[in-house]
Structure formats: C-alpha cells, structure tokens
Symmetry: none
Subunit: 224 residues, 2 copies
C-alpha cells in the first residue's frame, strides 16, 4: 500500500483529506506542524501533501531542506497562496505540483495518481537481458523469478556483460572495466570468475546465455 504524508494545520481540512485518502486505499500519515512532519518523514513515504503556512514555520523552507537531501518523495503543495510569485517559488523550491485552495477533492486525487504513476517508472535503475534483471541500487540479480546470490566481482562482471550484451567483449575490455587494471589479463582471473558466474547464472537443461568466443572473448546473449 502506498503511504502519503499529509502536512496541514487546519484540523477540518486535514481530517477531510485523510478520510478521502483512506477511502481511496492509500495509507496516510498526518502532521499538523513541521516538527511532527520531520518525525514522520522516514524513507518509506511515497508522497507528501504539503500546506505552506504552518504554525512553526514556512513549508517552503522545509521543502528546500528535503530536496537538498533527496529528490524523493514527490511533494504536492496545497495552499491558499495563489499569487504567481508564490506558485513559481513553490515549484522552484522543488515541489512537483502546486494546487491552490479551495480545490476539488477529485482534482487532488487525480494529481496524486499522476505523481505516483510517475514514481513507479522512476524506481531503481536496472539493466536487463531476456529474463535476467539486475537492480543497480540494491545490487540484486534475478533470473526468471530466481534470485542469484552473487559475489561483488561476479555482479560487476555480470553488469558489464549485460551492458554490452549480444556483442563480443574481449578480456582486455573486461579487465579495464571490471578490474580497473590491465594486469588481470596476464592471469586467468577472468576465466575463473566467468566460471563461477556461469554456475550461478546458467539454468541446467536450458541453452546457455554466456558463451565463450574462442580466441576473442565472451558474449552474453543469443548464440552468435
């Protein structure tokens, strides 16, 4: 369930927003001051709805602080301040949308859907090839629906191979990119790691995807 943090100091409006969000199937966290907002903003909030005028300070400053750290989560500013300067200031401070009070609850929901939709595509960057997928931030590799338990070097090697999928990569290229030195060319370190990677990567009974190109290097992808 997606969690939304609502920062709003008017009790009636806060209650009304929270109720609507609950009914729409979102999880909600409510804050009526910047102080309590700071407490509730942990990394697993998916969206923030922010009123600007709060008892203990200006919401824009809080927003700037947040954006200095991270571009997530998206922030939808909801405020009575409708002057153009205010709108520009809000958006430039890092807001992802700016909605002026009074607003229709339907429009609020539509804008929430829009922001969350955008988040989904924005999830961790990854590389993939066929049924193989590597999340570059959590550093997890999955083949089909089976997680692969790889060591660091094996993962680095695999990422390099996926990034250069369906083309031959020489040992020199691998040494330079994965080992950051050329010396590795003189030993058979690469062969050893390719070997270890194959054991975990290939599925017995299915055609291999990590091929040796004799005299040239390796190739990840469809047989040449």
């Amino acid at each position: 369930m997606q969690r939304i943090l609502v920062i709003e100091d008017q009790p009636n409006l806060l209650r009304s927003i929270v109720r609507t969000l609950d009914e729409s199937g979102f999880g909600t966290l409510a804050a009526d001051s910047l102080k309590s907002a700071r407490k509730l903003l942990s990394q697993d909030v998916d969206l923030v709805i922010l009123d600007l005028m709060l008892p203990d300070g200006n919401g824009l400053e809080w927003l700037s602080e947040l954006r200095a750290i991270s571009k997530r989560p998206p922030v939808l500013v909801v405020t009575a301040r409708d002057a153009i300067e205010d709108r520009v200031a809000g958006l430039d401070a890092g807001a992802d949308d700016y909605l002026v009070k009074p607003f229709a609850i339907e429009e609020l929901l539509a804008r929430i859907r829009m922001l969350l939709r955008r988040e989904q595509g924005d999830s961790n960057p990854f590389v993939s090839l066929g049924d193989l997928r590597i999340d570059l931030v959590s550093r997890t590799a999955v083949r089909g629906n089976q997680a692969l338990d790889l060591q660091n070097r094996q993962l680095e090697l695999l990422i390099y191979l996926v990034r250069n999928a369906n083309q031959i990569v020489t040992r020199e290229m691998i040494a330079k990119s994965v080992w950051k030195e050329d010396t590795a060319t003189w030993t058979n370190v690469i062969a050893v790691h390719v070997n270890q990677l194959r054991k975990k990567l290939e599925i017995p009974g299915q055609p291999a995807i990590l091929h040796t190109i004799r005299g040239q290097g390796y190739l990840l992808g469809d047989a040449p």
Copy 2:
C-alpha cells in the same frame, strides 16, 4: 539544449509561447495540428506542451496513444477547459501537469522547469547532505571534493544515515536496516562501524557531522 514541442492552434498564443521559450534558452518545435505533431514527435523531444482543442481532433486521444507506447516525454496540458472533470480526465490520460488558460507565462516556465528537472534525475541516483554526496550506483561517497574510501558496511551505514539525516536513528533502526537482523543490537558492532566511519568521514578542525545522542542513538547532520 532541451527541445520542447508546442502543440497549439491559436497562432498568437503559439507565437508568444515559442518566443518565450526561445528567450529562455530552450529549443522549440511548433505544431498547429495533431497531424504535424505526429511528424515532429518522431524527433527527440524532451517535453510536450499540448493544447486539447485542435482542428483535427482531441489532444487527449493523441495523448493516450502516446502513453500507450511510452511514458516519455512528459506532457504539460494547456487548455481553456477548466471543469474538474476535464482536469481529472487530462491527468488520468497521462498528462504530467494541467494548466488552465489564461495563465501567467512565469508559471508556465516554472512548471516546465519542474518537469524537466525530474527528467534530469535520469542520471545516477544519489543522496546527499551538505558537502557529502553518495552515488548509489557507482557506490562512491564524496565529501567536499575528496573521495571517501569506505568498506561496504560503512557505505551502507552512511547511506542509511543520510537518508535519515537530521533525525535521531536508534541502534535498533540501524540494525534492522543495515544488518537486516536484530542480533546486532546485543553487541557493539554498530559502535565499531560508526567509529571507523567517523575516521574517514569527519574533517579534522571542522565541526563534526556524525553525532552521538547519548542514550538514544546517532544523528547525522547539524548539531541538535
């Protein structure tokens, strides 16, 4: 230079928008119908400004077609239709923002900046705090312009602290997130790693940024 496609059939408004964008340093492509828009979109466009009522059809249908193929580029809908149903329909069709005519050119520019800012985030994701910055894909941490040579655990710990900057994190929270187990609470592993991290993170002669909150936990950021 970032390129913006403007789809608008009122010649005066179209000209005015294009001029403003040019002056702001954007590249512009102009279309006064869906037909010409289809032609121009095949080029590399970073953002689309879309009027809904066009001579040869409804912009929303065109938007839906586009979104069926790709979530890029972002689309900013600009229209005279200001009914709530219209706004909801536009956002749900895949628009990334919805601006009602007449609008201030300053707000249009602010919303364009907002949308493009998000696109830029396509580079490696990172977290930062003050002069500290961590690239989450290359897994490198930099303080000022000095790279920090951190071990895996130290980096994981630092990422967690930055993500929860300026708030107290307890040992239990750290154990759960970084070690993925509660057992670490019973030893002083965390203290040891915090200690090692401090040696590499703190700059002698400058105020510390990784504080101990006696009896509670640790805090990364400004002194409490």
